[in-house]
């Protein structure tokens, strides 16, 4: 199944080294990549202002002047960041009508089971332990494909499409 266009991944990490690494990993997988260094910048890019939180009636993300020309198909974020943590970013995304269906993946340097569970419960698709490797990035494909299948199929066929992909 050939994708109509490249998948676009938004990566969020306050570490300059980790940003470089994740960008390279994602580009190697032929994804289009946008990298930002904070949760608030991520929300800005996604077109969601800090004030505009849950249940705002925006059926699609309204493009601000220059951002959001491209749809974001997946968000991968570091857990531990100053300001807004990856968990907080995850929550805001899941609480947003316009963004809640975008798959979110969390990365962390620490293997804390309670943290992992909390993120998965909040709706994160995966939790990667840092340093993130190619084998981790390979796990993103199913989530991206599922997202696309759900976009393209009419509602009646949504469930069918999801089952097919698994």
């Amino acid at each position: 199944m050939a994708p109509q266009q490249q998948f676009h991944v938004l990566a969020v990490d306050d570490s300059i080294i980790d940003r470089k690494l994740i960008e390279r990993l994602l580009k190697t997988s032929s994804y289009q990549v946008t990298v930002v260094d904070s949760g608030s910048k991520a929300l800005e890019f996604l077109g969601l202002n800090e004030d505009e939180q849950m249940d705002q009636d925006v059926s699609s993300v309204l493009p601000s002047d220059h951002e959001q020309d491209l749809e974001v198909n997946l968000i991968i974020t570091d857990y531990w960041m100053p300001g807004m943590t990856g968990y907080e970013l995850l929550r805001k995304i899941k609480q947003s009508k316009s963004l809640k269906d975008i798959p979110v993946v969390i990365m962390s340097s620490e293997n804390v089971p309670s943290r992992i569970n909390r993120c998965l419960k909040e709706g994160a698709e995966e939790f990667f332990l840092k340093p993130v490797q190619m084998s981790d990035v390979n796990k993103l494909k199913p989530h991206l494909l599922r997202g696309r299948a759900m976009e393209d199929e009419p509602i009646i066929n949504k469930i069918e499409a999801t089952l097919e992909v698994i």
């Binding site: 570490s15 300059i16 080294i17 990993l25 340097s109 840092k130 340093p131």
Partner: protein
């Protein structure tokens, strides 16, 4: 042939990074991300690492001069340093970061001081070796860019 000699030298330098425990498997992961389109990826990451680390080390130096010590702050800086050291595969530096964090956890000032001195030594050694390795690889030309022997 001189070229082969240079290649052997580069390979030797690379091997000693592993043999001396300076770098681990993550370094190999970085090498594998290098290709013709991104021939200097590992060196680029290393350059970012030096810059980021020297900033953090400076912050740690300053923070360690304070009295009393703010162990939370120290732990925070060290967490960042440990993270980036881990991402580049800096094995010994990362291990020393872990020791330091443990001393922070137990609010052990002496331990922190000692550990930090050791960390700075490890970091300086790693930087020196990596710089020499990349320089050698660069001098040998693009076809000899520092990468995993195929």
């Amino acid at each position: 042939m001189e070229r082969n000699q240079t290649r052997r030298q580069i390979a030797g330098m690379r091997q000693s990074l592993f043999d001396q425990g300076l770098v681990d498997e993550q370094f190999v992961q970085l090498e594998e991300l290098q290709d013709d389109a991104n021939p200097n990826f590992v060196e680029e990451v290393a350059t970012l690492y030096y810059r980021d680390s020297s900033r953090l080390i400076q912050n740690l130096d300053q923070a360690l001069e304070k009295s009393p010590l703010d162990f939370n702050k120290l732990d925070n800086y060290m967490h960042q340093l440990k993270g980036s050291s881990s991402s580049i595969g800096a094995k010994k530096v990362k291990a020393e970061c872990t020791h330091f964090k443990e001393y922070c956890r137990t609010a052990n000032r002496e331990g922190c001081m000692r550990s930090f001195q050791q960390l700075k030594k490890e970091y300086a050694l790693l930087k020196k070796k990596l710089e020499a390795y990349f320089q050698m690889a660069r001098q040998a030309g693009p076809s000899n860019a520092a990468c995993r022997p195929k």
